[in-house]
């Protein structure tokens, strides 16, 4: 990792080749990452990819085998959790069941030299922040799931951490509440200006929340960037598939010059944009062309292929079609704002295709 350029402010958080193994299993493998002050980062990946371990390393519940964790220029690597200016919201919320909501919120404020009245005032402020005024005397088991989630969030914010870690913060909420809470969480983060690192396995949630998403796979941080970059310009098949549905057409590289390349496939020649990962690729190398279903078009034009419509489903906000190609692969196409007139019928021969700039060539 290069040293920060003088005109760049020191990042809030800097991970440098952080590694953690459990026995022979490398849970976190040489992860380097910078977080700007006030940035909202989501760590996304399937279960077991190491994202939760990385969060526990940041909180201090695990110690890295190698690498350093710096926060605001200060080395945190060896510090125990209770000495770190970092707080965490737990997936299970971990509210103390033997304490009232107000006692839960006050827990992190005790022992800092605040007066009793100052703590009470701050607790009231936190209750207002998460819209739970009047709930201070309740026990956590007398709250709904959404209210508990807000208490957990308020408790983690009580000490005004520079960095807040959130482990699947919306995982236990039902779908409708989750979307509403995403907006609230985002607004809260903007207002406080606290750096947020959220762990989630839900790509839609990551895209809705984060300034940047870090995708993890088997302990490695494989790509970091804004949602649009990851969705439209994924660095690998894994990232492409993780963030949403994608058609993958296998083939071999036919021309190796420029950004726009030709790929020889069973379905015919295809022109598409090459990813950076192919900069060293040679003619004849196996590749895949990734195309999002919503980028598929029908009719004559670029990359027009030949197939048979095998399924068409009206989903209200979009039309989903499946096309079986000559070699047996099935491509999916989705069109928003379904047209009123009936399109091609199931069984018709049709010609799916896509604009060359909508195809993205990745290493196979």
């Amino acid at each position: 990792m290069p040293a920060p350029a003088p005109d760049h402010p020191e990042p809030l958080l800097r991970l440098d080749r952080v590694t953690k193994s459990f026995g022979a299993h490398r849970a976190v493998d040489a992860v380097s990452l910078d977080l700007a002050p006030g940035e909202f980062l989501c760590l996304l990946g399937p279960s077991g990819c190491g994202k939760s371990t990385l969060l526990r390393l940041l909180a201090g519940f695990e110690t890295p085998d190698a690498g350093t964790i710096r926060l605001g220029g200060e080395d945190l690597t060896g510090l125990p959790p209770h000495r770190r200016p970092v707080n965490m919201m737990f997936q299970s919320y971990a509210l103390f069941p033997h304490m009232s909501v107000a006692q839960n919120l006050a827990y992190g404020l005790q022992g800092l030299g605040h007066s009793r009245s100052a703590i009470a005032e701050r607790v009231q402020g936190l209750l207002r922040l998460v819209k739970l005024e009047g709930f201070g005397a309740r026990r956590p088991d007398k709250l709904s799931g959404g209210q508990r989630q807000r208490v957990a969030l308020a408790r983690a914010l009580a000490r005004e951490p520079q960095l807040l870690l959130l482990d699947e913060p919306l995982g236990a909420l039902d779908r409708a509440l989750r979307e509403e809470t995403q907006g609230e969480l985002r607004a809260l983060q903007r207002r406080l200006g606290t750096g947020f690192v959220v762990v989630t396995h839900d790509p839609e949630e990551a895209m809705a929340l984060a300034d940047r998403i870090g995708v993890m796979d088997r302990g490695r941080l494989v790509q970091v960037g804004p949602a649009r970059d990851l969705y439209e310009r994924p660095a690998s098949r894994f990232v492409a598939g993780l963030l949403g549905d994608v058609n993958l057409i296998a083939g071999f590289l036919e021309s190796a010059v420029g950004a726009m390349r030709s790929v020889r496939t069973e379905l015919g020649p295809i022109r598409a944009v090459a990813s950076e990962a192919l900069s060293g690729a040679e003619l004849g190398d196996p590749v895949v062309v990734a195309v999002r279903p919503e980028r598929m078009r029908f009719g004559a034009g670029d990359n027009a292929l030949a197939g048979t419509l095998v399924d068409a489903a009206y989903l209200g906000d979009r039309m989903r079609r499946q096309v079986r190609m000559a070699d047996g692969t099935v491509l999916r196409a989705s069109a928003s704002l379904p047209e009123e007139a009936a399109g091609p019928a199931v069984g018709d021969s049709i010609s799916p295709g896509f604009a060359p700039e909508d195809g993205w060539i990745l290493p196979a």
Binding site: H82, F96, H98, Y107, R155
Partner: protein, 260 residues
């Protein structure tokens, strides 16, 4: 419930409790002869409460039970914490076995070995030696009860406390201890009753002047059973039942200790 099951249950319960019921009934016998019913009376309870040596023994028993259960509760909790919290340290299996062994060891052997130890160390035998002996097996029981509770405890509660700035001692006192308190109390009561009704080990390790209630009753029975013994036994049964009920109520209670 089928008739067969009903019969089996009745038979089983009679087998277990008929002797105790007979004993309780005969404690209210007016007759001096234990086996002849002479009408209802509580006069043997009166005789019992005038029997100074018997009352002194009861006090010794209560003292021993309280002290040994307190020691067992402290040591058992520490042992359970070590077993639960320090993963697979070397010697964990051996430590677990050693902790639980006194629970299944024949009492004669425990008693004899402790006697040999005390004689070898030239310790004066009395209340203190009985307390130590009872604490050895009580510790195992407390460790089992508290260990089960620790296993069910959400570890993220302690993580959350540490994350909110609490050092290890504050985490233990403000989060762990309140959450395992019901199990701790249940373990204490269990150790208390086990101490209260132990005869064999106490007989081995007691000295002059330290006669527990079971020892007193046993020596009186050898001179002949009288209804006063029945009355004393009835009270002992009542005390033990109350404590055991309290212990099971505490370990079953989920409200306060349950993780949300």
């Amino acid at each position: 419930m089928t008739p067969f099951n009903r019969a089996a249950l009745t038979l089983g319960l009679s087998f277990l409790y008929a002797p105790i019921v007979v004993l309780i009934v005969y404690s209210f016998n007016d007759s001096r002869l234990v086996t002849v019913w002479g009408g209802f009376s509580t006069r043997w309870y009166g005789v019992l409460f005038a029997d100074a040596p018997l009352l002194a023994s009861a006090l010794v028993s209560l003292e021993v039970a309280t002290l040994s259960a307190a020691i067992a509760a402290a040591l058992g909790t520490l042992a359970a914490l070590a077993l639960d919290r320090h993963g697979r340290f070397s010697g964990r299996g051996a430590f677990t076995g050693l902790l639980y062994a006194p629970m299944v060891m024949p009492e004669v052997i425990t008693g004899l070995s402790l006697l040999l130890l005390f004689v070898g160390l030239d310790v004066e035998r009395g209340v203190s030696t009985i307390v130590i002996a009872h604490a050895t097996f009580g510790t195992g029981f407390v460790a089992v009860v508290v260990g089960a509770r620790l296993k069910g405890l959400d570890r993220s509660l302690e993580d959350a406390a540490a994350d909110l700035g609490a050092g290890p001692l504050r985490v233990f006192c403000s989060v762990t201890l309140p959450l395992i308190a019901p199990a701790l109390a249940a373990g204490f009561l269990l150790a208390f009753t086990l101490s209260l009704d132990d005869l064999v080990i106490a007989s081995f390790v007691s000295g002059p002047g330290a006669t527990t209630l079971p020892m007193r009753l046993y020596s009186q029975v050898r001179l002949g059973v009288n209804p006063e013994i029945n009355a004393a036994s009835t009270l002992l049964i009542a005390a033990v039942s109350l404590v055991v009920l309290g212990a099971s109520w505490l370990s079953a209670r989920r409200g306060v200790g349950a993780a949300v």
